[in-house]
Subunit: 207 residues, 2 copies
């Protein structure tokens, strides 16, 4: 590969910045930079400022640690939501995914990651203590563990389960099973096995 | 499709800005925004400022219209380059592509587009008059037309050819033919036909 010569340091700088983004190589970064060059000065400014402000002015909800424009996020501050049910998720992205289903009316707790010894992430790096404090100090009925169905997710689930088992609350986890719309033949054995073990009353499946 | 609810206006704003970029949908835009959120404040600032500066501070070479950090670009200002040969290209990207080949030692002239009635781009929208002025006022031997092998490219080539034909200069165009490394069976008929018509002396092919 030859060394790309950029006719301008400003362009080279923009290409370098774009190619730091995940999934964006130097060719795409150049294409995006040249696109940016064709925009009006106002548009380029509003793009750049949106990125600077996003990082500088973002707040994290002091209750659930989701991102927020206010001290307490809109979900935690909403009196119509069921504050007795807390859904534990790995990241703010998961909150958005679950909110999009419109099936959950409780509150969230964002851990900010999952236990992963390989990446050097232990329980102390996550918002687990603040979850325990919420269970201790608030009127909580149920904690739903909604982490990914991976080794790390299971480890984290189990760690939280042990920490919370002494409190008089219900601890549940999201259902694993055959995805809606999938044929049985495409489901892996473990998923299919679990979906039989954890079978549900048919009248519930109709809901 | 459901309407995505963002927990923060700052995030929504960043996602909107990212998804304006070509080839970036809202899902990727969200992924990039969340990545930006995980960077340090300094890194986010340097990203945003690179974009703002790129558009605000960029200069165009007053000779060849390539982008440049200075009034006259590094290529035009380089006394080692052959100022008697001008290579006409559509965009600054083409300059970079040709520079990467390290086969051309002349100067460039960036048209800023090609004639395309479908897109409402006529000769007046391009840097054709400034090319004619260069031929008139400078000591030019040869103009190489290096536009894409498309209908629009051919139209633009022909337009420039007619405008320059009264001057005592050589007008050439880049060779069309079978790509290096390609088998004959993969070349289209027109390309293959042209490569036979415009066949070259074998001793030249060895260079």
């Amino acid at each position: 590969m030859s060394i790309q010569q950029y006719p301008s340091l400003l362009l080279e700088n923009a290409v370098n910045e774009f190619s730091k983004l995940p999934g964006i190589g130097r060719k795409t970064a150049l294409r995006l930079s040249l696109y940016m060059l064709r925009q009006s000065e106002h548009e380029a400014e509003s793009f750049g400022n949106a990125m600077i402000k996003l990082r500088k002015d973002i707040k994290y909800c002091r209750v659930c640690h989701n991102i927020s424009d206010t001290d307490v996020c809109q979900i935690c501050a909403n009196p119509a939501r069921d504050s007795k049910t807390i859904c534990v998720v790995e990241s703010i992205r998961d909150v958005m995914s679950i909110e999009n289903t419109q099936q959950f009316k409780g509150l969230y707790h964002v851990l900010g990651g999952i236990i992963s010894p390989m990446d050097g992430i232990g329980p102390g790096d996550l918002e687990i203590n603040s979850l325990i404090k919420r269970v201790e100090n608030e009127d909580v009925n149920e904690v739903i563990l909604a982490l990914g169905a991976t080794m790390e997710g299971d480890t984290t689930n189990f760690y939280i389960y042990r920490k919370l088992s002494s409190y008089n609350i219900k601890i549940t986890t999201i259902a694993r099973g055959v995805a809606v719309g999938d044929d049985l033949e495409y489901a892996d054995e473990i998923t299919l096995g679990r979906s039989i073990l954890n079978r549900i009353d048919f009248s519930n499946a109709l809901k």
